[in-house]
């Protein structure tokens, strides 16, 4: 049961924060993605969000725009992403959620996409340009293969909509910390934004665990922002770290250090 892998992570986490790590598949090179995912897991990541690069990522800031451009330039496509997932699955049971815009999926063929994803060992999907109004296109496929469909809530999402999104999501709900695009941000800004609506999130999202993301750069940010929620997601800050160190010989060690530091703090 694919979505089971996600449920298990939350069940076993007890009161510890679940840490999800986002990378763009195929960045910095398609051949390193599987190894990179295994290194993230080894360093403490509990869930992997694998970005399917798109030419026009309109909910993303400069960092993910850049990683997407590089990944596309290096030939990353959906078939390649499925092989990466199969490769990871040979040695790992970490939950893998594919995150991306709907157009490449429509172009690939929705039926084909979901059946290949299930076959490869994908556990769920986050589709930032498919709000609950438009999930008709994909919902039945997720149900058919028992894969999770994860929706987002934002600071301006109303209470009744949060309830609706909770009922339509399965696996977890992704809470966007600030109104804006993805990208590393000032920690205080993120914390202040989350403080304002976390009460509503907790009151209205009761069926699913909630991971908070957008802007988290440090252990302190992560702990502050996710307190009271199930955990957090780090994306742009991780990609910035890869960008700074790749292809130095110790790039993967630097990435592992970054991930451990986010999870456990710098004293470890």
């Amino acid at each position: 049961m694919p979505s089971e892998r996600i449920h298990t992570v939350f069940k076993n986490s007890k009161d510890k924060s679940v840490m999800a790590m986002f990378i763009t598949a195929g960045y910095p090179e398609p051949v390193v993605t599987a190894d990179l995912v295994l290194a993230l897991e080894e360093s403490g990541a509990d869930i992997i969000e694998l970005g399917m690069p798109f030419s026009d990522p309109l909910a993303d800031g400069p960092t993910i725009q850049y990683s997407s451009e590089v990944a596309i330039e290096k030939g990353t496509d959906l078939d390649m992403i499925f092989s990466m997932v199969r490769e990871i699955r040979q040695s790992s049971q970490i939950p893998i959620v594919l995150m991306g815009y709907i157009n490449p999926i429509l172009h690939y063929g929705v039926d084909e996409f979901f059946s290949k994803a299930a076959e490869s060992g994908v556990d769920g999907f986050i589709l930032p340009d498919v709000p609950v109004e438009e999930t008709g296109l994909v919902e039945e496929h997720c149900t058919k293969y028992d894969m999770s469909l994860i929706h987002l809530v934002a600071p301006n999402t109303t209470d009744s909509r949060m309830k609706l999104i909770d009922s339509k999501s399965n696996g977890f709900v992704y809470c966007v910390s600030v109104t804006g695009v993805t990208g590393a941000r000032d920690g205080d800004q993120v914390a202040q934004s989350v403080d304002k609506f976390i009460g509503r999130v907790k009151a209205n999202i009761t069926k699913n665990p909630v991971l908070v993301g957008f802007g988290i750069r440090t252990h302190t940010d992560a702990m502050r922002v996710s307190s009271g929620l199930s955990g957090f997601v780090v994306g742009s800050a991780l990609i910035d770290t890869i960008r700074k160190n790749y292809p130095n010989s110790d790039w993967l060690d630097q990435v592992k250090l970054f991930v451990k530091t986010i999870k456990y703090g710098s004293q470890n």
């Binding site: 309109l58 157009n103 172009h107 340009d129 438009e134 109104t179």
Partner: protein, 394 residues
């Protein structure tokens, strides 16, 4: 059966919808409510029509193109003179409507994307008139080929932000405008410049432009006592075309023809001919035809005309294409440039490069018409902005 689109969820047949990040959903819902309210509010409609009359200069004339008519020796050719609108193109009908709506919604900051700069200028103009802050996103490549319009926008008090991501044209300017909107959603109103984007934009922009078709109908009835046999318009996103087509959709005898930009040619790989080469897909908030790569990435469009240099098209056009109510035809850069020369030298009207695509289609259409028939072309804008490009070819 009477044509009625879109559905409550913003679908024109299977096209349209609201494919946007969650953050924008409340903004779209707020916009839908506000739009519904003004449709029923006669004071809004009066204010809108008054501005179109006193500020934009409507109604625009329907000019008989006598020498062009003689040149082809077949049907009579009329030009709907949107080039005579204040700021030089049809675009301002929509920006007047949207800025009035933004004011009623209490928004203080306006953003827009622009390709040719005509929508940017039209937005900057109404913002100046109503004292609103205005930021316009424009592809860096377009800021060069439409430099005159950049200077106009700045003079009008708008901040022009050149966009250097992607192909540095209209598609990328739109991405950047959406990113701004996602970030400043509370106080910002996004004035989209064509019948594209998430619901309710395609419907709303069409409605603000339908006055083009409504006037055409009335003027032609007065002049000729009959409806046109052909209505032709260029199609980038498709706003001038929807504006003139919409009031004729239920008139089966009126043939509607949308002219898309073929660039170097439909098969050249450097084209903006969305219907000739595109497939259904999602970009900028709606499902419509799109130029894309074999991997489902958005393909770079090419057209000599910045206003048509866009890989998508409005969802209502996709629907009208699929139900075969409108015929879409491609015209190349070279043909369009010949269209500029022909219209300029024969009618004393220098058309915009976008408009010139529609003019150029006359070469193909006119021999198939007969002398009792009437062809109306939407002369969507004037060509001053394009002189730098045009002068390389004369």
């Amino acid at each position: 059966m009477q044509y009625s689109s879109p559905t409550k969820n913003g679908y024109f047949g299977k096209f349209g919808g609201k494919f946007v990040p969650e953050i924008l959903i409340p903004a779209l819902e707020e916009l839908e409510l506000a739009y519904e309210a003004i449709l029923k509010d006669s004071s809004f409609q009066e204010e809108f029509l008054d501005l179109l009359r006193e500020y934009v200069g409507r109604p625009t004339p329907l000019t008989l193109a006598e020498r062009l008519t003689d040149h082809y020796g077949k049907a009579k050719i009329y030009l709907k003179r949107e080039d005579l609108c204040h700021t030089g193109a049809h675009k301002i009908n929509n920006t007047v409507g949207q800025v009035l709506l933004a004011r009623r919604m209490g928004k203080k900051r306006i953003i827009a994307e622009t390709g040719a700069g005509q929508h940017g200028v039209a937005t900057a103009t109404v913002c100046a008139k109503f004292g609103m802050e205005c930021v316009v996103y424009m592809g860096a490549e377009d800021t060069e080929r439409q430099k005159l319009n950049v200077d106009r926008m700045r003079l009008l008090g708008a901040e022009v932000r050149p966009v250097t991501s992607g192909s540095q044209t209209l598609k990328d300017a739109t991405n950047e405008a959406i990113r701004d909107w996602v970030t400043n959603v509370d106080d910002t109103f996004y004035i989209i410049g064509s019948v594209v984007g998430p619901h309710p934009y395609p419907m709303m922009v069409r409605d603000f432009h339908r006055i083009i078709g409504d006037e055409t109908r009335k003027q032609l009835m007065e002049k000729e006592g009959k409806l046109p046999d052909y209505v032709i318009a260029c199609v980038g996103g498709g706003s001038n075309a929807m504006g003139i087509f919409y009031p004729f959709i239920d008139d089966d005898t009126v043939r509607l023809i949308g002219v898309e930009a073929a660039g170097y040619g439909v098969e050249s790989g450097q084209t903006a001919a969305t219907f000739a080469k595109g497939k259904p897909g999602v970009l900028h908030g709606s499902l419509s035809y799109l130029l894309q790569t074999t991997q489902g990435q958005i393909a770079l469009a090419h057209s000599v005309s910045a206003g048509l240099d866009y890989p998508g098209v409005g969802p209502e056009h996709a629907h009208l294409h699929d139900i075969k109510r409108v015929q879409y035809v491609p015209v190349t850069d070279e043909e369009a440039l010949r269209g500029v020369k022909l219209t300029s030298s024969m009618e004393g009207i220098i058309p915009a490069l976008e408009t010139a695509h529609a003019m150029a289609f006359l070469d193909t259409l006119m021999p198939t018409t007969s002398s009792g028939e009437i062809v109306v072309i939407n002369c969507s804008g004037r060509g001053d902005k394009d002189m730098a490009t045009i002068s390389k070819f004369i």
